[in-house]
């Protein structure tokens, strides 16, 4: 039976092999972190990949779609672009389209957004008294996307038990797997 084979393997591993496996695991985690940080540098965005959480951009994006963002300063914000932004004081990023921009000579820009699937613009979502968004509110511009894949992240968020189960299985697999 599968479970008995696993236990046998664990017993056979001696201490040194266990440390080796733990180091291996550490390497994988570090590499993943480095790739993520590298993406942050290349794209200029603090969050280069985000999951769409609501249906306000349907039928283009649905809950669970994955978006790839860039946030280069040289790319000016223009109408029609899909921006991911955070409202001051709120954690959850919002993915909507730029509806209106007013840019001064010195480059300072204020803009308004609206979800494709919403009837009205986002002024109701902004802070009390806030009429415009500014560059500092932007996390990134959506440049590409992949459908469905982000559902895993949403599931892990909504069902913490699922998240722990996934992490536990991953950890177990890496520790027990012999090369």
């Amino acid at each position: 039976m599968l479970s008995l084979d696993f236990l046998d393997d664990v017993r056979r591993m001696n201490r040194r092999q266990l440390y080796y496996q733990v180091l291996n695991f550490g390497m994988i985690v570090s590499s993943a972190l480095m790739i993520w940080k590298g993406l942050m540098v290349i794209t200029g965005s603090e969050s280069p990949i985000v999951v769409v959480l609501s249906g306000s951009m349907e039928p283009a994006f649905h809950r669970g779609d994955l978006l790839f963002l860039t946030n280069r300063v040289e790319d000016p914000i223009r109408v029609g672009e899909i921006v991911v932004f955070r409202i001051e004081g709120r954690e959850i990023p919002i993915v909507h389209r730029v509806l209106k921009i007013h840019e001064k000579q010195n480059g300072h820009i204020k803009f308004l957004t609206k979800g494709d699937n919403n009837a009205v613009d986002d002024r109701g979502l902004y802070k009390q008294g806030q009429h415009w968004l500014e560059k500092k509110d932007v996390v990134g511009r959506a440049r590409g996307f992949v459908p469905y894949i982000g559902i895993v992240t949403i599931l892990m968020n909504d069902y913490p038990k699922f998240k722990y189960a996934v992490l536990f299985l991953l950890g177990l697999f890496v520790l027990v797997h012999r090369e």
Binding site: G80, H102, F145
Partner: protein, 147 residues
């Protein structure tokens, strides 16, 4: 990936344009210029993607702001829908409020039609159609109409 079966072409003709000045009830409460434009759109391109997000935007310069862009109208065209549009006498979908009073007498308001291509998966390009149309606003406020 996506391919245009033929060059994207469209014909855009504004038919009426005037400005009034009033409190911007969509947000900032200052009195700003509110522009009204009606237009015709005709497009004749074919495509093969999940969705096209079409939008008509007005671009202009004012004393207050070096660059202003306002989306006046948009439409989602889904794969399978008839891609040929013939729209006449369209009113702007969104309020054309300026940030200030820069619409009155503005001779250089440029209308362009652009679209965001949404593939089934992949890059999300933003394409601007070639050919813009200029809409000159009159030098005085329209006193016979209000909102």
């Amino acid at each position: 990936m996506f391919f245009f079966h033929s060059l994207p072409l469209f014909a855009l003709s504004p038919t009426l344009a005037y400005v009034i000045c009033q409190k911007d009830f969509t947000g900032p409460r200052e009195r700003s210029d509110l522009g009204f434009i009606t237009f015709d759109i005709k497009n004749i391109f074919d495509w093969n993607v999940k969705q096209l997000f079409l939008y008509l935007s007005a671009e202009y310069s004012t004393k207050n702001n070096a660059l202003n862009q306002v989306v006046l109208w948009d439409k989602i065209v889904l794969r399978g829908d008839n891609p040929r549009l013939l729209l006449k006498d369209m009113k702007t979908k969104y309020f054309f409020f300026d940030d200030g009073n820069g619409l009155k007498g503005n001779r250089n308001v440029t209308l362009t039609l652009s679209w965001n291509v949404v593939p089934n998966a992949g890059i999300l390009p933003l394409v601007t159609g070639s050919g813009h149309v200029s809409v000159p606003f009159p030098d005085t406020y329209e006193i016979t109409k209000s909102y």
